[in-house]
Symmetry: C2
Subunit: 364 residues, 2 copies
Amino acid sequence: MSDYSTPVRRPTIVDVARVAGVSTAVVSYTLNGRRGVSAATRERVLRAADQLGWRPATAARSLRSGPAAAALVVVHDQPFGTRAAFPLDLVTGALQTIGPDTLTLAVHVAGSTAEAAQLMDRWWTERRYAAFVVTGIRADDERLAALRSLPAPAVVVGTAPDGAPATWQHVVLDDDDAFEQVGDFLAELGHRRVAMVAGSERLVSPARRAAALEVALARRGIGLRTVAGDGPGRAAAALRPLLAAGDRPTAVVTDDDATAGLVLDVARRLGLGVPWDLSVVAGTDSPACYLTTPSLTAVPYPVEELGRATGRALRAALGAGPDWRGTGSGPGGEQHPRAVEPPSGTVAVGRLVVRGSTAPPPGG
Amino acid sequence: MSDYSTPVRRPTIVDVARVAGVSTAVVSYTLNGRRGVSAATRERVLRAADQLGWRPATAARSLRSGPAAAALVVVHDQPFGTRAAFPLDLVTGALQTIGPDTLTLAVHVAGSTAEAAQLMDRWWTERRYAAFVVTGIRADDERLAALRSLPAPAVVVGTAPDGAPATWQHVVLDDDDAFEQVGDFLAELGHRRVAMVAGSERLVSPARRAAALEVALARRGIGLRTVAGDGPGRAAAALRPLLAAGDRPTAVVTDDDATAGLVLDVARRLGLGVPWDLSVVAGTDSPACYLTTPSLTAVPYPVEELGRATGRALRAALGAGPDWRGTGSGPGGEQHPRAVEPPSGTVAVGRLVVRGSTAPPPGG
DNA sequence: TTGAAAGCGGTACCAT
DNA sequence: ATGGTACCGCTTTCAA
């Protein structure tokens, strides 16, 4: 016990049962909203529990019923970029679709995919979490291998892993639609020379996005030049020669908002006016995008919506197992019959947000 | 249980005991590194546990010994700013001083201090966590009140709460030193008119920092104008008239990096050259500070170091209680005698990082 | 040094 | 509809 100074012994169902004048079984039934308890008894138990300030001990419940918690394991190794808030926003959204009575979602931080994999393996073996959520999947991500071998229910956010076990769900943004929109938009403005500053090469998702843009532009007969954008240093180094060249692109698309800001900066230093000499599109919208000069045309990035979908996927992933019970809630908690969840899927991104950084090409 | 498809029954100490040919008590003793087990037996048990891939079930252990986990409860309601990564960096640092065998640190997200308070109350009552870590304390923060009434061991990061219970620890940055440095630096450059764009008024810490700067400047006979900086919109609105006025400040200090970027932007729009017409100092250094044009002179922000101190404080907070045991580890885990922890304290910020955004005042 | 057994706080089966 | 009670897996007396 973690009792201090005054060892406040917190009430147990035995106390509740005594106060209500019933057995512990009835208390358990009542508090878990199962039928077979008379209204009068139910009332007394609920009142007793409420009066005593009773809450179920997590450990005791987990011991029999398994953990009612899932973990989002974040690989935190790139301090740069405003996307750092991503996990927090994602969880905010997820909490909107999973009631705290059903499941709690904790965030854990690892310094590498290997460390993350090891942690998940450990926590799964310790029966600490019933499922895991992973994002920002890299090429050869050790987390996926670990999850596969456990095997634990999982939600993969941002990528659709191939050959996923039945207990996995995935939630992705509709990048195809998003970059189709970007391609169409730039083509219609008259741009013929377009470049993309790709995001981190280690990440899987940016590659998909770049491919989507390439396809969309190809349909219009426009080619796409891609330059490395992994980290601000490399991006800047690649950007300078690109924009200084005579056949420089008239439009640059980035994978994320931070890199788009960098493009603005490099353009300014080279004396290129945005949007007159160069159009810039950020592949990821964020508050930073409307604070720049000029403000950035950007692909919406509905992280909270992604989070809500993640919450649903999590329930589905757990619901897929025959044994998991997320029932049971506090005093007065109702029993919500868990509906059959639709499989996880694709989250729409909405319409491209056109701001001040895009215009027809010079002389266009 | 959260078993799926193949209900893999994970091994328990009973299995380990059987394989090793001893009782469960001996297994428990061995795995917790207690003395009184013969070397030979110990060896057999360890081998058996290792061979079976045994790990202690969190729930079972917690049921008797109390939770071996703490939670950082983040209030996530301001999407703006690169400080969003703060909790993640903090945890990264904290994990360096708390071994995963001793304690795990989970991050949880709440939309408001009230919600955070409610969650902590709930989790404390459910015996889910043994301690809580809170940051970004606001005026009249409900989390503090909740923690006080529980009463739970806590680590307060960023502020030293007054009248804190004995089971609380706090970790703060040495803001006095930091802004003393800023004040001296600006004074020596020759600045006489200095303004500070304060951070969110709801937060406690920015107010302290502004006060520290004011004191440092006052010592040099220089006054400080403070303008509201809560959110980019307000900051921009306050900044424009300030910088357009005839008696405009020759140096502006901000609380955070994002606002400093905003100052750069407003100055550019007003045709003020930085640093020739205006010096800018960011109160919080970040990678974004050396990507701007010009790069920003900034106060170091050693978040990971803050995290390490937080980890130590957490151990101290838990060690203060007579009953908490963080012992017990995996197979082969050694028993580390827990040293008496020093009380929590102040983390040094280091030397002001001088970059391109500061210079003597015009005509100075 | 080792073993038997009583909890920890719920859940759920089996009687009544 | 309700009560008695055997678990869940581990820790920790208490004896031997």
